[in-house]
Amino acid sequence: MAKELLKGNEAMAEAAIRAGVEAYFGYPITPQTELLEWMARRMPELGRVFIQAESEVATINMVYGAACTGARVMSSSSSPGASLMMEGMSYIAGTEIPCVLIDVMRGGPGLGNIAPSQGDYNQVVHGGGHGDYHPIVLGPATVQEAIDLTILAFDLAEKYRTIAIVMADGNVGQIMEPAELPPMREVHRASPSWALTGAQGRERRILTSIYLDPYEEEITNRRLQSRWLEIRAKEVRFRAYHLEDAEIVVVAFGTAGRVSLSAVRAARAEGLKAGLFRPVTLSPFPYEELAALADRAKAFLVVEMNAGQMLEDVRLATRERVPVGFYGRMGGVVPFPDEVLSEVHRMAQGGAGDAGDVRAKWLERLAQAPN
């Protein structure tokens, strides 16, 4: 199929349709409303289910019910709506059924604003809802990647009976870029052995997340954890740029990753041995790959559009055997390549001024910055 100029939100919506999504439930929230509106037009055209629900709470519970039937189902939202979906996500995870969610992140906390951020990392990557569960989280940096990861999300969710979340910053949802959509896949109503379809000619089935006996609940949790270990072993994805001989490794995902790539290329042009490690799966997180890089890099620089959330996972991965610096913009502010480049310079000079609390030093630098 040919490349078209596509808006991220609409591309993700159409990608889901091409992947055979049977039901979309959503609620308007900037900056992802275009996704809902695309679905409102396309799903009825194709005879599939679309509902604009009364809230994100209702949305995630419609997803929950629909997922019980074994169909491919999804929702999308942005940060405040994602918060509302946390209860439902915990229930879906506890029931061990698949679904796909798209979170297009905006400035926060609270009502925040509609500008792009990466502030949902902790709540989405590390669970967010109560209890022990790990969704698969995919972080696209381009519209093409958003398409590809949306389709991958459905396959992974079904394969592992888990929640798969495409976690895009608002920029990826809003930009328009040339990208290619795959051909339409036929809707194939899977009939898994656990699905609720009416007990015709078979034993009845129950789908629940309540296990009143703690020992039984623990068995369920062990199953969830084992499944997670398998996902961790098999589904890590990342992109590596100029890492073969990199001394300064920038670690960034999504739009921060794209901006950092420009900075890394500029640094290379100056003769600095910089490289970019861009996680594509934030969950499972590429701990091992980063740990291996810590053996040969001189320093890491984590760049995020938040106050340092993935930073903690990078610290954990590298055990800070070498300095791990941090640069972040918050509240919907998107960093520019020149900002990241001057951070790369700083790390190349031994991470000047980073002794002590990395965050405190970073905040001081932010305070002194011109904008």
Partner: protein
């Protein structure tokens, strides 16, 4: 002609119930409601096509007692969950079974909007004027002056407001097709309740839209009464506050409801 006498079976436990003894308190009319639903699904031959959605409340384990597919919803979210199921499987019979807190408190948005959308599901609403499972706290249906564990001096309307009449509220929605209130406190009313439940499930089976049957029910344990005293309390106190009747009967359903 010779007359011979043999026994005929007049009534037996419905097959849509499992053989699991319930955890409900002795005399609790949850059991009656369960039994009526099971009898109706047996009579209509719908067991194998039915998917139930259980609430959070005393009936959280309802799925242990019904012999068909069941899902467990988050508190109050059953109508949204049922919506998801029914939209994907429109030819199945999907019902929710909810108590006062589940439907009229935390789930108020979900029930209103499911009815407003005219979702072709059936909702069975068990109104016993308190939160039974958690030990008898105030519910949106608690009567003024009624003592509960969170209104130990009786519900003070100045602080805690007035009860909500859900059948009346939902009947204002154009999307609702059949909204009625019945009671389970004596055989005559139980029979009328069964008829209403039958109309509700017929409404769904014939694709005629959203149905809800509110069933006035007892909670002997949390009311501090014997099962028999509880039936009388319901009759004397709840029926004046929650009048029985048909609050919404869409023209298409009227023929079924005769």
């Amino acid at each position: 002609m010779v007359a011979t006498a043999m026994e005929t079976l007049v009534y037996r436990r419905p097959t849509s119930l499992t053989e699991v003894p319930t955890h409900y308190c002795p005399g609790c009319t949850h059991g009656v409601a369960h039994r009526l639903i099971a009898e109706i699904l047996d009579e209509m031959g719908l067991r194998e096509r039915t998917i139930g959605v259980a609430p959070v409340g005393c009936a959280v384990f309802a799925y242990n007692y019904f012999n068909f597919d069941f899902a467990e919803a988050a508190h109050g979210r059953a109508p949204a969950m049922a919506t998801g199921i029914k939209r994907l499987l429109p030819d199945r019979i999907v019902f929710t079974y909810q108590g006062d807190g589940d439907l009229a408190s935390i789930g108020m948005a979900e029930i209103l909007h499911a009815a407003a959308r005219g979702e072709a599901i059936t909702v069975i609403f068990i109104n016993n004027t308190n939160y039974g499972m958690t030990g008898g706290q105030m519910a949106p249906t608690t009567l003024p002056g009624q003592k509960t564990t969170s209104t130990p001096n009786g519900r003070d309307v100045k602080l805690a407001g007035f009860p909500i009449r859900m059948a009346e509220v939902l009947a204002t929605l154009e999307g609702a097709s059949y909204v009625v209130r019945r009671s389970l406190h004596d055989p005559k009313n139980i029979r009328l309740a069964k008829k209403a439940l039958r109309v509700a499930f017929e409404t769904q089976r014939q694709g005629l839209g959203f149905s809800m049957v509110e069933l006035l029910s007892t909670c002997p344990t949390n009311w501090g009464l014997t099962p028999l005293e509880a039936l009388r309390w319901l009759e004397e106190n709840m029926i004046p506050a929650f009048p029985l009747g048909d609050y919404k009967v869409a023209p298409a359903v009227a023929g079924l409801a005769k």
